[in-house]
């Protein structure tokens, strides 16, 4: 337990910094950028449940992300309460995730990726074409942000704190999930599905559960996206969005909690802040991805932590652990 003390301290410092961010970032623009990083990070964390822990690469998650936003937008625009909209959004998205899972879990690996991609494209097509419901490419304007417990979330700092609260909840439940029995089972089905079956695990159902959990956090992120932008249109469901979220997860480091957060931060900062200074920011983003993957094939966070460990060799137990893990993964058939 002693070994965890420094990381606990670091976590506290980070949380404190995040909590006080609106105080030292005077400009609301930057507070808004921070809010965006947080809800994209929630999306990436949700996707990571599948990609990282369950080993199932989805290229259709934008459909779930958009499904959530659309459902809330449609319910609230039709006169429903915000709470109803939010509950419906999450229920609808988790239900859609269940349908996706039933279809996509027919396969793993590239097959899974392709099915999710195709399903995502279908949802995108529906969002585009079913204009009576979605208002087509003109999108839906979402007039007001919700007021949970009467708190007005119109201002940038207020919204930031709301997102931060959800974000911290997501991170904590994710941390708990990773250490939980179900989390262990999910990782087991990623590494040794056959063995897990022989041990009495229902591999399909474990993966299904992972898909639903992933869908849940994607739904939450989609809601926050809607509340933030107060607008939703079919572009949100496009393949581009799925790919972006996947890039966040992979570049940051799959099957870690910090990785998707770091990945989200990189992508959002590139798109919003850096694009104001560098005209060819798309190319820079591409180059960053290529560099990360060339020098740290398992992503930024694992890469950096390995770098840090190699600089402080006294924490040997971890290094040997790494070596052991490497040996083990090579031993796998």
């Amino acid at each position: 337990m002693k070994r965890r003390l420094p990381s606990m301290t670091a976590a506290l410092v980070v949380v404190a910094a995040m909590a006080t961010l609106p105080l030292w970032l005077a400009n609301t623009y930057y507070i808004n950028v921070a809010s965006q990083i947080l809800f994209w990070a929630i999306f990436a964390l949700g996707l990571n449940v599948l990609v990282g822990y369950a080993g199932l690469t989805s290229l259709g998650h934008a459909a779930l992300f958009a499904m959530s936003g659309y459902t809330a937008a449609i319910v609230v625009t039709a006169g429903g309460a915000h709470l109803l909209g939010a509950v419906a959004a999450i229920a609808m998205t988790v239900a859609t995730a269940a349908v996706f899972a039933v279809l996509a879990l027919r396969a793993t690996g590239i097959g899974f990726l392709m099915i999710t991609l195709a399903l995502g494209q279908i949802v995108w097509g529906i969002a585009y074409r079913w204009a009576a419901l979605t208002n087509g490419d003109n999108g839906i304007n979402f007039k007001t942000r919700p007021q949970p417990f009467g708190i007005d979330l119109t201002s940038a700092p207020a919204f930031y704190y709301a997102v931060l609260l959800v974000f911290l909840t997501a991170v904590m439940t994710m941390a708990v999930f990773v250490r939980s029995p179900l989390g262990a089972a999910v990782r087991g089905t990623r590494d040794q599905p056959r063995r897990m079956t022989a041990l009495g695990y229902n591999v399909w159902l474990v993966r299904f559960a992972a898909f639903l959990l992933s869908g849940f956090w994607t739904a939450v992120a989609g809601l926050l996206f809607l509340y933030y932008n107060q607008f939703i249109s079919p572009q949100v469901a496009a393949l581009q969005t799925s790919a972006e979220a996947l890039l966040m997860v992979i570049s940051g480091g799959t099957a870690t909690i910090l990785g998707p957060i770091a990945g989200a931060a990189i992508v959002v900062v590139m798109k919003t802040v850096v694009s104001a200074y560098v005209e060819r920011w798309n190319m820079v983003l591409g180059i960053i991805f290529v560099l990360i993957i060339s020098f740290m094939p398992d992503g930024l966070v694992p890469g950096i932590s390995r770098l840090v460990r190699s600089m402080w060799p006294q924490r040997r137990s971890n290094v040997t652990g790494e070596r052991a893990a490497k040996a083990a993964s090579e031993a796998r058939p």
């Binding site: 396969a107 590239i110 097959g111 392709m114 991609l117 393949l239 798309n282 290529v290 060339s294 094939p297």
Partner: protein
């Protein structure tokens, strides 16, 4: 104009183009198991390079060949310098190829601006076939010829040559191929170059009727994916049949079910994947 006849002929011609597009993707995916998400970028960049060669006064086919060779070199570099280090790491390959596609797209925008380019049809193939009130451009029919010729050439390469035998062995079982002394590493580079060259060639051949514009890459990539999924990875025959099936699905689907225009290709794709994950003609499971 007989609608159904036009649709039928056009299905075949679109199928021809799709085969040129997806043959390389299928080879790379079948042999190397690399989901090459920059295949659309190869197509687009190839088309742009071809248009540049045309502007320099090169003939159409020499330009297509030059573009293919240029892309083979570029593809080889990417494989040797970047992809090589990520063998077997599927997610890393996804990230790398997507990252490269960002770079290529932005580079094309920088070099060729955003203005659409539509190269002229090769002079010998201009004009149209006119029979029984039916008008159909000669060039599109020629594309089918090119596709079939390419299919035969690839088939000969894979079925009749030593390299082809190695590729087949590699597709079936890479470790065994290595054991029997095939230099899988060089083979991979070769196949990647070939796949990239095919994509570029397809880009040039397609450009007179698709035209070239930013975003072409993202339009073409899903088509290549669908063809390969439908046909089964690594199977040339599968890619060929898959291309023609998609050609027909696309043409008749758009005409018969306009309300389903957006999903006309993806619904069959889901169905095939769910019912037969290895593709219609593929052997190995994905």
């Amino acid at each position: 104009m007989n609608l159904w006849l036009v649709l039928a002929i056009n299905s075949v011609t679109l199928g021809g183009l799709l085969f040129l597009l997806s043959a390389g993707f299928s080879l790379i995916f079948g042999l190397m198991r690399i989901p090459n998400l920059m295949h659309g970028s190869f197509f687009m960049l190839g088309a742009y390079m071809g248009s540049a060669f045309l502007k320099q006064g090169l003939g159409f086919w020499p330009a297509a060949l030059a573009s293919a060779i240029g892309m083979a070199v570029l593809g080889g570099l990417v494989e040797r310098l970047l992809l090589r280090r990520l063998a077997g790491q599927e997610l890393a390959q996804v990230l790398l190829t997507l990252g490269m596609s960002f770079i290529i797209a932005d580079a094309c925008l920088m070099i060729w601006t955003g203005d659409p380019i539509q190269p002229a049809t090769p002079p010998d193939l201009r004009g149209a076939v006119t029979t029984a009130g039916l008008v159909f451009p000669i060039y599109r029919i020629a594309i089918v010829g090119v596709a079939v010729a390419m299919a035969v050439a690839l088939w000969l390469l894979i079925d009749r040559t030593r390299i082809g035998a190695m590729i087949r062995a590699g597709v079936d079982d890479a470790p065994i191929a290595r054991v029997v002394g095939i230099k899988v590493s060089q083979l991979f580079t070769l196949v990647f170059c070939l796949g990239a060259a095919l994509a570029a060639f397809a880009g040039v051949v397609g450009s007179p009727y698709l035209s070239i514009y930013p975003g072409l890459d993202a339009e073409m990539l899903p088509l290549a994916l669908i063809v390969v999924i439908l046909g089964g990875a690594g199977s040339l025959l599968g890619a060929l049949l898959g291309s023609f099936i998609i050609g027909f699905l696309y043409n008749f689907g758009q005409a018969l079910f306009p309300d389903l225009a957006y999903v006309i290709l993806f619904v069959p794709m889901v169905l095939v994947l769910v019912l037969r994950p290895q593709g219609l003609f593929g052997r190995a499971a994905l």
